[in-house]
């Protein structure tokens, strides 16, 4: 009997139980299962469902429900991780890694063989030029500002030279690393500022599944690397401000990554420098001299380098940003040609029903932004005032709290401003980190109140029952507010046959074959016209230039008249890229051309005569065709 008691005592000591050994079995608290294995398996499973949905869609089967199940599942397992499961400090990093990896693979599996986004081909041109010339003095015929911020392309080129893999594969590999590291950094920043692992996971989820991060900010574009560097710089700054014992280590990380960000992307580097200066200024005003000194140590070099780089190297930046903000959806550049006596096929409306979007997707998009706004508003209204009162002690938190309000403004810009959709989409990532922070912080406050047993009612909401309602509601809001409202647009959510003016769905092997033919058979730096996506992708691959202004008139003209030839000559157009599908299918994006005067008014494709006229245009020759895309040579027109 004595021996038995000793043995029991020994076992209890080696493996401490979460309840006294003397408790009756039915009163013992059940230890929740560990979150990490469940999250890893769950996200892998839902990624497999996504891949199956993609495969079904490519083969023409209905796959939309399965797709949404997969996307929902990626978020749902995170809800489980912060809700009923046991999530330790180290396991939370594993959860962040798994989330980053699976959310990136969700983008890659859309088309694992080639880029699907226009901007990726623009940066591919810079990367190829850098490889060939071994000089930074390379131009870009489509995105002229790209060579002035060559960080992304340099990295991809280095991996390409070292491994011999194709540039596209290298881009996928490097982008994957940036994406996963960015997610880990968001978790680490939230963890450091909020001080709670499950709450930091909530913040990480808000950021990872933000409207553009899963796709747009993971493409082979300079913002992909810059966001990661910017986050690393911010993490270095946060660490230097909150744990100064490491001396110069964290400020050095902040400065180096901030400098790297400055040579990689303009807007991201501006945002990072502005944030650093603002935080340091707030700390100075608050009289926290020691903290302010450490913050200025990072902010000043980063801001100075960003300014110098923009003035000395990035000379086209301001003009590029101005055109980006002012452009999109305008009709002015094409309008003068309407008065030039060229008969146009304007009444293209009414021949067929408009391309209809799945109603559920559109509703989700609208509800999504509202849900995101509600989420941020909830955090700001219930906790923001208290956090702002502590601005002297916590300048970084105060600045992030105020910055998060921009989410509400961006939603308004998207809906209210002409061309605001793209502007809002591209800038969303910069306000999602503050949004993630405020949501995480508020979540932590409510959760810690539950732990302290403040009120029984809230206790039942936050993990008290079998199904914790609050995390589930939070997950639904994150999912609908971010994934459902994000990129790709409803018409390109799933892969499939190429459609005109459908962004990710417009890139297909036939278009790339046409682009490669132009690259190998035509001189460089010619001006080409065509529908926006086809012309820009061919121009990016073949180092040609895109002609704007006259393109809508050339395509919409009913006949190939001498006046039309004169117009093409005046714009110096050498080649026209013709997508045969635009005579049968309306533009899913709403417009075929960059300056389309009929934007949003198409109900069907262009009349077939508009496309056939190129075959009978005096002096013009169709010099290439692959059944879908043709190249018309206009040089005989001169």
């Amino acid at each position: 009997m004595v021996e038995k008691q000793t043995l029991t005592h020994h076992t209890t000591k080696r493996l401490p139980l979460p309840f006294p050994a003397s408790h009756p079995k039915h009163l013992r608290r059940r230890v929740p299962p560990a979150a990490l294995p469940i999250v890893v398996i769950g996200q892998s499973l839902f990624l497999l469902l996504l891949a199956i949905a993609y495969a079904l869609a490519r083969s023409g089967y209905p796959a939309r429900p399965l797709y949404w199940v997969g996307e929902c599942g990626l978020v749902a397992v995170l809800v489980a991780a912060v809700g009923p499961l046991r999530l330790g400090e180290d396991a939370a990093y594993g959860v962040a890694f798994s989330t980053g990896l699976t959310s990136y693979l969700a983008m890659v599996l859309y088309d694992p063989f080639s880029f699907t986004f226009l901007d990726e081909y623009q940066h591919l041109q810079t990367a190829t030029a850098l490889l060939r010339s071994h000089s930074f003095a390379v131009g870009n015929t489509v995105l002229q500002v790209s060579p002035e911020y060559p960080g992304l392309e340099i990295n991809a080129d280095l991996v390409h030279r070292a491994t011999g893999l194709s540039l596209v594969t290298c881009a996928y590999v490097t982008d994957g690393i940036y994406h996963v590291v960015a997610v880990l950094l968001v978790y680490a920043i939230c963890r450091q500022l909020v001080g709670d692992a499950p709450a930091a996971v909530v913040g990480m989820a808000v950021f990872t599944f933000s409207p553009q991060f899963q796709f747009v900010d993971s493409y082979f574009t300079y913002s992909c690397l810059a966001i990661t560097l910017g986050l690393a710089a911010l993490y270095g700054t946060v660490m230097s401000a909150t744990s100064p014992r490491r001396g110069w280590w964290w400020p050095a990380v902040g400065i180096l990554c901030g400098v790297g960000c400055a040579v990689t992307h303009h807007v991201t580097s501006f945002a990072v420098a502005a944030l650093f200066v603002l935080v340091a200024a707030v700390a100075t005003l608050g009289g926290a001299w020691s903290q302010a000194r450490r913050l200025w140590t990072v902010a000043l070099p980063v801001a100075a380098f960003t300014l110098v780089w923009t003035v000395v190297v990035g000379t086209r930046t301001i003009a590029y940003l101005r055109s980006g903000i002012g452009g999109g959806g305008g009709v002015s550049s094409a309008a003068p040609h309407f008065a030039a006596g060229i008969p146009l096929d304007l009444p293209v409306v009414g021949r067929a029903p408009a391309p209809s979007s799945p109603a559920g997707d559109v509703v989700l998009e609208l509800v999504g932004y509202a849900a995101l706004a509600v989420l941020v508003a909830w955090a700001e209204l219930t906790g923001g005032r208290v956090w702002l009162r502590r601005w002297r002690r916590e300048p970084i938190a105060a600045v992030l709290t105020v910055s998060a309000l921009a989410v509400l403004g961006l939603g308004a810009v998207r809906e209210a401003v002409l061309g605001g959709s793209e502007l809002a989409s591209r800038t969303f990532v910069y306000v999602m980190l503050p949004a993630a922070f405020v949501v995480a912080r508020r979540y932590e406050e409510v959760r810690s109140r539950r732990v302290a047993g403040a009120t029984a009612r809230r206790s039942s909401w936050f993990g008290g029952g079998t199904v914790p309602l609050a995390p589930v509601a939070l997950g639904l809001v994150i999912w609908s507010g971010t994934l459902a409202a994000g990129w790709p647009a409803w018409y390109a959510r799933l892969p499939g046959p190429a459609e005109p003016a459908a962004w990710d769905r417009s890139v297909d092997p036939a278009l790339l074959a046409c682009a490669r033919w132009v690259a190998t058979h035509e001189p460089r730096d010619q001006y080409i016209a065509g529908d926006q996506l086809s012309a820009e992708i061919v121009a990016a691959v073949a180092r040609e230039r895109v002609s704007l202004g006259a393109t809508p008139t050339i395509f919409l003209a009913r006949r190939a008249t001498p006046a039309l030839g004169q117009l093409a000559r005046s714009y110096g157009i050498d080649l026209i890229i013709v997508d045969a599908a635009i005579d049968s299918r309306a533009p899913l994006d709403g417009s075929y051309f960059a300056d389309d005067p009929l934007s949003g008014r198409y109900r069907s494709g262009l009349p077939a005569a508009d496309i056939r006229k190129f075959q009978h245009w005096p002096g013009a020759s169709v010099v290439y065709s692959n059944g879908r895309y043709s190249v018309v040579d206009l040089r005989g027109n001169r």
Partner: protein, 244 residues
């Protein structure tokens, strides 16, 4: 953290660092072969080091170490087999080695993560329950399945998309018709029918993965229409008109 884990835990980082260093060497063009061989040979050692190493100079055989040995040996064997098969199939040895290195690094990372999940007194490779690595294996299988489904699906689609290209520069030029697939994974034989004006000819062409079939079909003059159709795969008509 007890005495054992204080010794063993840094060894895990050493193992990861060694593997990463070897992997980095593999990326260097000038020492690919040497580093590749070193990678294959050092994977077991690095895995053992990552698994806890021999604390106190004595190798402790436990579940995790045994599992690591299995992983390491299988990785090594796989590397050799993959090298032989991959090189025979035309892949670059570097690529095969990079994949093997990636798997090795992943194994180290998994070892570190699972180790840190355990209470401090049980770190260092002692008594890791078998269930600890099972979720990772399941996740790896699911992830591999997702990637495989996408690769096969997208690859099959692109394989089907045969493309016929007709190109002619100006009147009097010889017309070249090219047949192939934009992302070919295996060769394909097709019947190519080409009509220039009123004359129709047909060829049986074989487009390999590396090179599209190119057929010189004759001269074309202004106003003449060239129409080419490839059969046996998707019929993709291509038409060129010289109007100049």
């Amino acid at each position: 953290m007890n005495e054992h884990s204080r010794r063993a835990f840094p060894m895990r980082w050493v193992g990861l660092a060694v593997t990463l260093a070897i992997g980095a060497c593999t990326l260097m063009p000038f020492c690919r072969v040497v580093a590749g061989v070193a990678l294959v040979l050092c994977v077991p050692g690095a895995s053992l080091a990552a698994a806890g190493g021999p604390p106190g100079g004595r190798l402790r055989v436990n579940l995790w170490a045994a599992g690591a040995v299995v992983v390491a040996v299988s990785v090594s064997v796989n590397a050799v087999v993959a090298l032989a098969v991959g090189v025979a199939a035309g892949f670059q040895p570097t690529r095969v080695l990079i994949v093997v290195g990636g798997v090795s690094v992943a194994a180290q990372v998994v070892g570190l993560v699972t180790d840190r999940q355990r209470p401090p007194e049980r770190r260092g490779g002692e008594g890791l329950p078998r269930a600890a690595w099972r979720p990772w294996a399941i996740a790896c299988v699911l992830l591999s399945g997702a990637v495989a489904v996408s690769l096969v699906s997208a690859g099959a689609l692109r394989q089907r998309e045969a493309v016929v290209e007709v190109a002619a520069r100006r009147s009097g030029d010889e017309v070249v018709v090219a047949v192939g697939s934009t992302s070919c994974t295996r060769g394909q034989t097709q019947r190519l029918t080409v009509a220039i004006g009123g004359r129709t000819s047909s060829w049986r062409v074989h487009a390999s993965c590396a090179r599209w079939a190119q057929v010189l079909v004759g001269r074309v003059h202004a106003g003449e229409q060239v129409r080419a159709v490839a059969e046996q795969r998707d019929r993709v008509p291509a038409t060129v008109v010289l109007a100049g």
